[in-house]
Amino acid sequence: MRLTRRGLLIIGLLVCCATAGTLVGATLAGASGVGTSPVAAFTSSSAPPATDQTFIQGLAADEGTPNPGTSANPVGTPLPAQARDLIANAGPAHDTLGAFPTSSGEVCFEVLGAGDCGNVNGGEPYGAGISFGILGTRTGGTRLYGVASDYVAKVDVEIAGTDYPATLSNNGFYFALPDGITSDHIQSVVATWKDGSVHTYPMHS
Protein backbone atom coordinates (compact mmCIF):
# COMPACT_ATOMS: atom_id res chain seq x y z
CA MET A 1 0.00 0.00 0.00
CA ARG A 2 1.40 3.37 -0.90
CA LEU A 3 1.28 6.03 1.77
CA THR A 4 0.15 9.46 0.81
CA ARG A 5 1.76 12.54 2.23
CA ARG A 6 -1.22 13.01 4.50
CA GLY A 7 -0.91 9.47 5.77
CA LEU A 8 2.77 9.93 6.55
CA LEU A 9 1.99 13.15 8.37
CA ILE A 10 -0.67 11.47 10.48
CA ILE A 11 1.61 8.58 11.39
CA GLY A 12 4.37 11.00 12.28
CA LEU A 13 2.05 13.00 14.51
CA LEU A 14 0.89 9.84 16.28
CA VAL A 15 4.46 8.75 16.97
CA CYS A 16 5.35 12.19 18.31
CA CYS A 17 2.34 12.26 20.58
CA ALA A 18 3.11 8.79 21.93
CA THR A 19 6.71 9.74 22.64
CA ALA A 20 5.78 13.02 24.29
CA GLY A 21 3.13 11.33 26.39
CA THR A 22 5.61 8.73 27.55
CA LEU A 23 8.13 11.39 28.53
CA VAL A 24 5.57 13.46 30.42
CA GLY A 25 4.16 10.43 32.20
CA ALA A 26 7.59 9.20 33.23
CA THR A 27 8.54 12.66 34.48
CA LEU A 28 5.37 13.00 36.53
CA ALA A 29 5.82 9.54 38.01
CA GLY A 30 9.34 10.40 39.08
CA ALA A 31 8.32 13.77 40.51
CA SER A 32 5.43 12.37 42.53
CA GLY A 33 7.66 9.69 44.02
CA VAL A 34 4.65 7.52 44.61
CA GLY A 35 6.03 4.07 45.34
CA THR A 36 9.30 4.96 43.61
CA SER A 37 12.69 5.91 44.95
CA PRO A 38 15.98 6.13 43.04
CA VAL A 39 17.33 3.03 44.75
CA ALA A 40 18.10 0.29 42.24
CA ALA A 41 18.94 -2.21 45.00
CA PHE A 42 15.25 -2.87 45.66
CA THR A 43 14.89 -4.42 42.21
CA SER A 44 18.42 -5.78 41.75
CA SER A 45 19.51 -9.35 42.19
CA SER A 46 22.80 -8.13 43.72
CA ALA A 47 21.01 -7.21 46.96
CA PRO A 48 19.49 -10.35 48.47
CA PRO A 49 16.19 -10.38 50.37
CA ALA A 50 16.61 -9.24 53.97
CA THR A 51 17.62 -12.07 56.27
CA ASP A 52 16.61 -10.84 59.72
CA GLN A 53 12.92 -10.13 59.57
CA THR A 54 12.75 -9.32 63.29
CA PHE A 55 14.72 -6.13 62.73
CA ILE A 56 12.88 -5.25 59.52
CA GLN A 57 9.40 -5.83 60.93
CA GLY A 58 10.18 -3.95 64.15
CA LEU A 59 11.20 -0.85 62.23
CA ALA A 60 8.30 -1.14 59.79
CA ALA A 61 5.75 -1.45 62.60
CA ASP A 62 7.01 1.65 64.38
CA GLU A 63 7.51 3.79 61.28
CA GLY A 64 4.10 2.77 59.99
CA THR A 65 2.38 4.12 63.09
CA PRO A 66 1.65 7.85 63.06
CA ASN A 67 2.33 9.74 66.25
CA PRO A 68 -0.77 10.56 68.32
CA GLY A 69 -2.29 13.81 67.17
CA THR A 70 -1.27 13.32 63.55
CA SER A 71 -3.67 11.93 61.02
CA ALA A 72 -1.31 10.55 58.45
CA ASN A 73 2.06 8.92 58.42
CA PRO A 74 4.47 11.27 56.64
CA VAL A 75 6.65 8.41 55.37
CA GLY A 76 3.75 6.56 53.74
CA THR A 77 3.15 2.86 54.22
CA PRO A 78 6.32 0.84 54.87
CA LEU A 79 6.81 -2.06 52.45
CA PRO A 80 8.90 -4.54 54.45
CA ALA A 81 8.09 -7.36 52.03
CA GLN A 82 10.52 -5.67 49.62
CA ALA A 83 13.35 -5.47 52.17
CA ARG A 84 16.89 -6.20 51.03
CA ASP A 85 20.23 -6.65 52.74
CA LEU A 86 22.35 -3.89 51.20
CA ILE A 87 25.60 -4.64 53.03
CA ALA A 88 26.50 -7.71 55.08
CA ASN A 89 29.29 -8.41 57.58
CA ALA A 90 30.18 -4.73 57.88
CA GLY A 91 32.70 -3.31 60.33
CA PRO A 92 34.08 -4.82 63.54
CA ALA A 93 30.55 -5.57 64.69
CA HIS A 94 29.81 -7.59 61.51
CA ASP A 95 26.64 -5.63 60.94
CA THR A 96 24.03 -6.17 58.25
CA LEU A 97 22.43 -3.08 56.75
CA GLY A 98 18.84 -3.77 55.76
CA ALA A 99 16.46 -1.45 53.90
CA PHE A 100 12.99 -1.32 52.37
CA PRO A 101 10.92 1.25 50.48
CA THR A 102 7.64 2.92 51.43
CA SER A 103 4.56 3.64 49.36
CA SER A 104 5.47 7.33 49.17
CA GLY A 105 8.98 6.79 47.82
CA GLU A 106 10.89 7.06 51.11
CA VAL A 107 13.47 4.48 52.11
CA CYS A 108 13.75 2.88 55.55
CA PHE A 109 17.06 1.48 56.76
CA GLU A 110 18.33 -0.31 59.84
CA VAL A 111 21.20 -2.03 61.56
CA LEU A 112 20.07 -4.28 64.42
CA GLY A 113 16.64 -2.77 63.94
CA ALA A 114 17.88 0.75 64.76
CA GLY A 115 16.93 3.11 61.98
CA ASP A 116 14.49 5.49 60.38
CA CYS A 117 12.87 6.32 57.05
CA GLY A 118 14.07 9.17 54.86
CA ASN A 119 14.13 10.71 51.43
CA VAL A 120 17.04 10.26 48.99
CA ASN A 121 15.66 11.67 45.76
CA GLY A 122 17.87 14.74 45.89
CA GLY A 123 15.02 17.16 46.43
CA GLU A 124 15.08 16.96 50.21
CA PRO A 125 16.80 19.47 52.53
CA TYR A 126 20.57 19.55 51.79
CA GLY A 127 19.78 17.69 48.56
CA ALA A 128 22.56 15.18 49.12
CA GLY A 129 20.70 12.07 47.96
CA ILE A 130 21.47 10.25 51.19
CA SER A 131 19.68 9.44 54.42
CA PHE A 132 21.59 8.04 57.37
CA GLY A 133 21.76 7.46 61.09
CA ILE A 134 24.33 6.68 63.77
CA LEU A 135 24.05 3.72 66.10
CA GLY A 136 26.16 3.21 69.19
CA THR A 137 26.31 0.18 71.44
CA ARG A 138 28.65 -0.65 74.28
CA THR A 139 29.86 -3.81 72.62
CA GLY A 140 29.76 -2.88 68.92
CA GLY A 141 31.05 0.68 68.95
CA THR A 142 29.62 3.55 66.96
CA ARG A 143 28.73 3.24 63.29
CA LEU A 144 27.20 5.52 60.67
CA TYR A 145 25.08 3.95 57.94
CA GLY A 146 22.28 4.69 55.55
CA VAL A 147 20.99 4.63 52.00
CA ALA A 148 22.33 6.53 48.99
CA SER A 149 20.40 7.17 45.82
CA ASP A 150 21.48 5.88 42.40
CA TYR A 151 22.96 9.34 41.71
CA VAL A 152 25.65 8.90 44.37
CA ALA A 153 29.13 7.63 43.45
CA LYS A 154 30.78 7.79 46.87
CA VAL A 155 30.16 8.82 50.47
CA ASP A 156 32.75 10.29 52.84
CA VAL A 157 32.57 11.04 56.53
CA GLU A 158 34.41 14.22 57.51
CA ILE A 159 36.09 14.09 60.91
CA ALA A 160 38.50 16.84 62.04
CA GLY A 161 38.93 18.06 58.48
CA THR A 162 39.72 14.63 57.01
CA ASP A 163 37.37 12.72 54.71
CA TYR A 164 37.07 9.01 55.48
CA PRO A 165 35.44 6.89 52.76
CA ALA A 166 32.40 4.88 53.71
CA THR A 167 31.73 1.47 52.21
CA LEU A 168 29.17 1.99 49.44
CA SER A 169 27.43 -1.07 48.01
CA ASN A 170 23.94 -1.79 46.69
CA ASN A 171 22.87 1.77 47.56
CA GLY A 172 23.87 1.19 51.18
CA PHE A 173 26.78 2.89 52.93
CA TYR A 174 28.48 2.10 56.21
CA PHE A 175 31.31 3.58 58.25
CA ALA A 176 32.58 2.32 61.62
CA LEU A 177 33.81 5.24 63.69
CA PRO A 178 37.32 4.78 65.16
CA ASP A 179 37.57 4.10 68.88
CA GLY A 180 37.10 7.25 70.89
CA ILE A 181 35.28 9.05 68.09
CA THR A 182 31.62 9.84 68.63
CA SER A 183 28.98 11.46 66.48
CA ASP A 184 29.94 14.79 68.05
CA HIS A 185 33.27 14.60 66.22
CA ILE A 186 31.66 14.24 62.80
CA GLN A 187 31.54 17.54 60.91
CA SER A 188 29.63 16.41 57.85
CA VAL A 189 28.77 13.54 55.54
CA VAL A 190 29.68 14.25 51.93
CA ALA A 191 28.02 12.60 48.94
CA THR A 192 29.80 12.88 45.59
CA TRP A 193 27.45 12.25 42.73
CA LYS A 194 28.20 10.48 39.46
CA ASP A 195 28.04 13.81 37.65
CA GLY A 196 30.92 15.06 39.83
CA SER A 197 28.84 17.37 42.00
CA VAL A 198 29.57 17.37 45.71
CA HIS A 199 26.77 17.54 48.26
CA THR A 200 27.50 18.16 51.93
CA TYR A 201 25.21 17.10 54.75
CA PRO A 202 26.08 19.06 57.93
CA MET A 203 25.90 17.31 61.26
CA HIS A 204 23.79 18.46 64.20
CA SER A 205 22.80 21.77 62.69
Partner: protein, 149 residues
Protein backbone atom coordinates in the same frame (compact mmCIF):
# COMPACT_ATOMS: atom_id res chain seq x y z
CA UNK B 1 -19.72 -64.63 88.42
CA UNK B 2 -19.91 -62.28 91.30
CA UNK B 3 -16.20 -61.67 91.51
CA UNK B 4 -15.97 -60.88 87.78
CA UNK B 5 -19.01 -58.59 87.93
CA UNK B 6 -17.55 -56.94 90.98
CA UNK B 7 -14.25 -56.47 89.17
CA UNK B 8 -16.07 -55.03 86.12
CA UNK B 9 -18.01 -52.59 88.27
CA UNK B 10 -14.90 -51.56 90.19
CA UNK B 11 -13.10 -50.97 86.87
CA UNK B 12 -15.90 -48.69 85.62
CA UNK B 13 -15.81 -46.70 88.81
CA UNK B 14 -12.05 -46.31 88.58
CA UNK B 15 -12.30 -45.15 84.97
CA UNK B 16 -14.95 -42.59 85.88
CA UNK B 17 -12.85 -41.18 88.68
CA UNK B 18 -9.80 -41.02 86.44
CA UNK B 19 -11.76 -39.31 83.71
CA UNK B 20 -13.16 -36.84 86.17
CA UNK B 21 -9.72 -36.00 87.52
CA UNK B 22 -8.41 -35.59 84.01
CA UNK B 23 -11.19 -33.18 83.16
CA UNK B 24 -10.57 -31.12 86.27
CA UNK B 25 -6.86 -30.93 85.58
CA UNK B 26 -7.51 -30.01 81.94
CA UNK B 27 -9.92 -27.27 82.96
CA UNK B 28 -7.45 -25.90 85.47
CA UNK B 29 -4.69 -25.87 82.87
CA UNK B 30 -6.94 -24.10 80.41
CA UNK B 31 -7.82 -21.48 82.98
CA UNK B 32 -4.19 -20.89 83.90
CA UNK B 33 -3.23 -20.74 80.23
CA UNK B 34 -5.96 -18.21 79.50
CA UNK B 35 -4.99 -16.07 82.46
CA UNK B 36 -1.36 -15.92 81.37
CA UNK B 37 -2.26 -15.33 77.73
CA UNK B 38 -4.50 -12.41 78.57
CA UNK B 39 -1.94 -10.96 80.95
CA UNK B 40 0.91 -11.32 78.47
CA UNK B 41 -1.12 -9.79 75.68
CA UNK B 42 -2.17 -6.85 77.80
CA UNK B 43 1.39 -6.22 79.01
CA UNK B 44 2.93 -6.53 75.56
CA UNK B 45 0.65 -3.93 74.01
CA UNK B 46 1.08 -1.28 76.68
CA UNK B 47 1.80 2.09 75.04
CA UNK B 48 3.71 4.79 76.84
CA UNK B 49 4.20 8.24 75.37
CA UNK B 50 5.85 11.40 76.61
CA UNK B 51 6.18 14.72 74.79
CA UNK B 52 8.51 17.49 75.86
CA UNK B 53 10.51 20.45 74.65
CA UNK B 54 14.28 20.02 74.70
CA UNK B 55 17.11 22.48 74.22
CA UNK B 56 20.28 21.43 72.36
CA UNK B 57 21.99 18.55 74.08
CA UNK B 58 19.23 18.00 76.60
CA UNK B 59 16.51 15.39 76.78
CA UNK B 60 13.93 13.59 78.83
CA UNK B 61 12.60 10.15 79.54
CA UNK B 62 11.27 7.98 82.27
CA UNK B 63 14.20 7.42 84.59
CA UNK B 64 12.19 6.26 87.54
CA UNK B 65 10.91 2.96 86.28
CA UNK B 66 12.85 0.38 84.34
CA UNK B 67 10.92 -1.11 81.43
CA UNK B 68 11.34 -4.04 79.16
CA UNK B 69 10.94 -1.97 76.04
CA UNK B 70 9.51 -2.83 72.68
CA UNK B 71 9.69 -0.64 69.56
CA UNK B 72 10.88 2.60 71.07
CA UNK B 73 11.25 5.79 69.10
CA UNK B 74 12.05 9.43 69.65
CA UNK B 75 10.17 11.48 67.08
CA UNK B 76 10.51 15.15 66.19
CA UNK B 77 7.02 16.56 66.57
CA UNK B 78 7.12 19.31 63.94
CA UNK B 79 6.69 17.28 60.78
CA UNK B 80 7.44 20.17 58.45
CA UNK B 81 11.08 20.70 59.32
CA UNK B 82 14.13 18.53 59.61
CA UNK B 83 15.71 18.01 63.00
CA UNK B 84 18.08 15.60 64.68
CA UNK B 85 16.59 13.14 67.14
CA UNK B 86 18.15 10.54 69.40
CA UNK B 87 16.69 7.48 71.15
CA UNK B 88 18.59 5.95 74.06
CA UNK B 89 18.39 2.86 76.22
CA UNK B 90 20.14 3.23 79.56
CA UNK B 91 20.73 1.04 82.59
CA UNK B 92 19.26 1.70 86.03
CA UNK B 93 22.11 4.13 86.76
CA UNK B 94 21.45 6.12 83.60
CA UNK B 95 24.52 4.83 81.75
CA UNK B 96 23.89 4.60 78.02
CA UNK B 97 23.66 1.09 76.61
CA UNK B 98 22.31 1.66 73.10
CA UNK B 99 21.78 4.95 71.29
CA UNK B 100 20.59 5.84 67.82
CA UNK B 101 20.34 9.29 66.27
CA UNK B 102 19.50 10.72 62.89
CA UNK B 103 18.04 13.58 60.93
CA UNK B 104 16.19 11.72 58.26
CA UNK B 105 16.51 14.53 55.75
CA UNK B 106 12.86 14.12 55.02
CA UNK B 107 11.46 17.51 55.85
CA UNK B 108 8.78 15.41 57.45
CA UNK B 109 10.12 14.76 60.96
CA UNK B 110 12.71 12.26 62.13
CA UNK B 111 11.69 9.21 64.13
CA UNK B 112 14.79 7.62 65.57
CA UNK B 113 13.76 4.04 66.20
CA UNK B 114 15.26 1.36 68.45
CA UNK B 115 14.01 -2.23 68.44
CA UNK B 116 13.19 -4.02 71.69
CA UNK B 117 16.00 -3.74 74.20
CA UNK B 118 16.32 -7.53 74.22
CA UNK B 119 17.49 -7.32 70.59
CA UNK B 120 20.60 -5.57 71.92
CA UNK B 121 21.09 -7.94 74.83
CA UNK B 122 19.36 -5.93 77.56
CA UNK B 123 16.14 -6.90 79.29
CA UNK B 124 15.21 -3.96 81.48
CA UNK B 125 16.23 -0.47 80.46
CA UNK B 126 15.32 3.16 80.86
CA UNK B 127 14.04 4.89 77.72
CA UNK B 128 15.31 8.36 76.84
CA UNK B 129 14.78 10.90 74.10
CA UNK B 130 17.31 13.68 73.49
CA UNK B 131 17.92 16.60 71.17
CA UNK B 132 21.37 16.13 69.59
CA UNK B 133 21.15 19.35 67.60
CA UNK B 134 23.95 21.80 68.24
CA UNK B 135 21.85 24.94 67.96
CA UNK B 136 18.10 24.42 67.84
CA UNK B 137 15.57 23.56 70.51
CA UNK B 138 12.59 21.46 69.55
CA UNK B 139 9.68 19.39 70.78
CA UNK B 140 9.95 15.63 70.69
CA UNK B 141 7.70 12.73 71.41
CA UNK B 142 8.99 9.52 72.93
CA UNK B 143 6.94 6.43 72.11
CA UNK B 144 7.38 3.14 73.89
CA UNK B 145 5.47 -0.04 73.26
CA UNK B 146 6.50 -1.64 76.46
CA UNK B 147 5.89 -4.17 79.17
CA UNK B 148 5.80 -2.67 82.60
CA UNK B 149 7.00 -4.80 85.48
Amino acid sequence: MPSARRAKGAGRGRRSRTMGRTLVIAAACAAVFAAFAVTAHAAYTYYYALQAYASPGSGFGDNSVVYRNFNDSCAYVDIYHTHWTKSIYADANGNWLVWYEDNNNCGLGSKAHLNPSSDYGYTYVQAKCTNPSAHNSATFQMNCWTTRP
